[in-house]
């Protein structure tokens, strides 16, 4: 699916966000990315969904070098990659149905998009997607009147309508409360499992990552520090990954003490004893 070699990203201000990132992700794989904030995970995801151009290095998607694509080809590839953001990135003034149908935009012409704003084109499809995320009754609500968790589910419904081969979820649960977080992560995992989609997720909470994903990539200071299965990710590795980031270290302390903010839904973490 993805093949990254020596990806480097330097922003205009001169700050280096990513340095020599190399990674392979196979079709249907589920991968969680963890690491302290500012590690470069979001930048990596923006490069993976082709909205940010790496400064150097090669990104190959499905055997095709992305840097060689024309504008139209780039758009076609983007339709196959669905992104869910930390902030939901919805158009607040539009009704839910329109935000869900935005998943079709890659296939619609601008005229069709305009027409659909006047008279939605695929109400049934939007309804089905909302049903899958468990809030069909909100189809005609105005998006900015929904709670953060509900908006996040609208964003997921948009990705369902888009029906991509890869789902990139960038911290999808850091803005919602813990009980909802588990259900959103499970939802995404089950949905992508059922349709054999590749799922890449940035996660702020280590326990969700370790509990739900078979492959964990640790990122720090723009570099990949480890790429292991969860049972190999031990306390020392995590302590090293988060060293110097106080808030996150404290959360680790709590985990070590057996306090799990996500409750019984999370299975006990490997390496941490009660």
């Amino acid at each position: 699916m993805y093949e990254l070699t020596g990806i480097r990203k330097v922003f205009a201000a001169g700050s280096v966000a990513l340095e020599d990132v190399s990674l392979r992700v196979g079709p249907g794989e589920h991968v969680a990315f963890i690491g302290p904030s500012g590690a470069g995970k979001t930048t990596l995801f923006r490069i993976l969904n082709l909205t940010l151009r790496p400064t150097a290095g090669a990104l190959v998607f499905e055997g095709q070098d992305v840097s060689e694509l024309s504008d139209a080809e780039l758009r076609r590839v983007r339709t196959r990659i669905g992104t869910i953001y930390q902030q939901q990135n919805l158009v607040g003034r539009l009704r839910v149905v329109h935000n869900v149908l935005a998943g079709h935009l890659g296939r619609w012409s601008a005229a069709a998009a305009l027409a659909s704003l006047v008279r939605p084109r695929d109400v049934a499809g939007a309804g089905r997607a909302l049903e899958q995320v468990g809030m069909p009754e909100k189809l005609w609500a105005r998006t900015d009147e929904l709670s953060g968790g509900q908006q996040q589910r609208v964003a997921i419904a948009r990705v369902l309508v888009q029906d991509p081969d890869v789902i990139l979820a960038d911290e999808p649960v850091s803005a919602v409360d813990p009980s909802l977080a588990v259900s959103i992560v499970t939802l995404l995992r089950d949905l992508s499992h059922a349709s054999r989609k590749t799922l890449l997720m940035n996660l702020h909470s280590v326990d969700l990552a370790l509990g739900y994903f078979p492959r964990i990539v640790g990122v720090r200071d723009g570099r990949v520090r480890f790429d292991l299965s969860p049972d190999k990710v031990g306390p020392e590795l995590l302590a090293e990954l988060y060293a110097g980031h106080r808030d996150e270290e404290q959360e680790l302390e709590q985990l070590r003490d057996g306090k799990n903010p996500f409750g019984a839904a999370c299975r006990p973490l490997p390496g941490f004893r009660k």
Binding site: R95, A124, L130, E131, E137, W140
Partner: protein
């Protein structure tokens, strides 16, 4: 399994809830007024494209080049440009002098309502508060609703030609606008600090000086500057009715079909307005 609400059948669309009358009514009234206005304003795009119009455009454009740049003409126009700036400054000064007292009188929270007046008697509030409040609001409304050109025209009749009627016109019309906006700014000041000061035993003047003025000042300055910018544009064209400045020259040249002079004058106006934009942007940067 939950049902999808209002799934398609087209006849049930839009199931979006807003089936109120307003959108339809609005569209109908709007369309009717546009059609009516098109006729009333004698809009006829063909008139733009007929032979006469095109010939006139050609005459105008050809006449503009080369612009008239003789030293004598430029000197005369420079004096007119200076006069324009001076009219705007004096006009704005008079507008402030009119706008501040009228604006204060037109502020309900200062005159008869709210924290400052909890202990004033009922009649006191009406006679000393509400009556001048209502009167000054009416005066402000008249001042600002009559366009500055009409004021200028009338002042030309009352005090004669020259920059003076222009100054008065800007002073009166902009005094009305400044007064209204000053009162809105004062009205929107957060009452919490005022209450605190009042509770601490401050006198009414103390509350105004320490609570009201500091909160309102930045907005007052910003809006006054904005009005000064507008005043320059306005004073540049008040001359059309004989009130001095560049406008008088533009009209004269236009009437005499001296389009080369018109181009020079428009360029001067352009530079003038652009430099005012820059200057007042600078000043606003300092104040904010």
């Amino acid at each position: 399994m939950a049902r999808i609400p209002s799934a398609p059948p087209a006849d049930r669309f839009p199931a979006s809830g807003s089936r109120r009358l307003f959108p339809y009514l609005f569209t109908a009234v709007f369309a009717a007024s546009v059609l009516f206005s098109l006729r009333e304003a004698q809009v006829d795009p063909r008139r733009l494209l007929d032979a006469d119009a095109l010939a006139n455009v050609a005459k105008f454009v050809r006449g503009m080049f080369p612009p008239k740049l003789t030293g004598e003409f430029l000197g005369l126009m420079a004096r007119a440009a200076v006069e324009t700036v001076q009219i705007s400054v004096m006009g704005t000064a008079i507008a402030i002098a009119l706008g501040v007292p009228l604006g204060v009188l037109a502020t309900s929270s200062l005159m008869w309502r709210g924290v400052l007046h909890e202990r004033t008697s009922r009649t006191g509030r009406w006679v000393l508060g509400f009556a001048p409040y209502a009167a000054s609001r009416a005066v402000l409304s008249v001042f600002r609703s009559i366009p500055e050109y009409v004021w200028a025209f009338m002042f030309v009749r009352a005090v004669g030609f020259g920059p003076f009627p222009g100054v008065l016109a800007i002073g009166v019309a902009y005094g009305g606008m400044l007064g209204k906006v000053y009162s809105e700014i004062l009205e929107s000041v957060s009452p919490r600090p005022l209450e605190t000061l009042r509770a601490a035993g401050a006198s009414r003047a103390g509350v105004v000086l320490y609570g009201l003025v500091p909160q309102a000042l930045p907005n007052v300055v910003a809006y006054t500057l904005y009005r000064w910018e507008c005043a320059i544009r306005a004073s540049a064209i008040l001359g059309f009715v004989g009130a001095g400045g560049l406008g008088q020259q533009i009209e004269l040249s236009m009437r005499m079909f001296q389009f080369d002079e018109v181009l020079t004058l428009l360029a001067i106006l352009f530079v003038l307005v652009a430099s005012v934009d820059v200057i007042s942007g600078r000043i606003r940067g300092w104040v904010a």
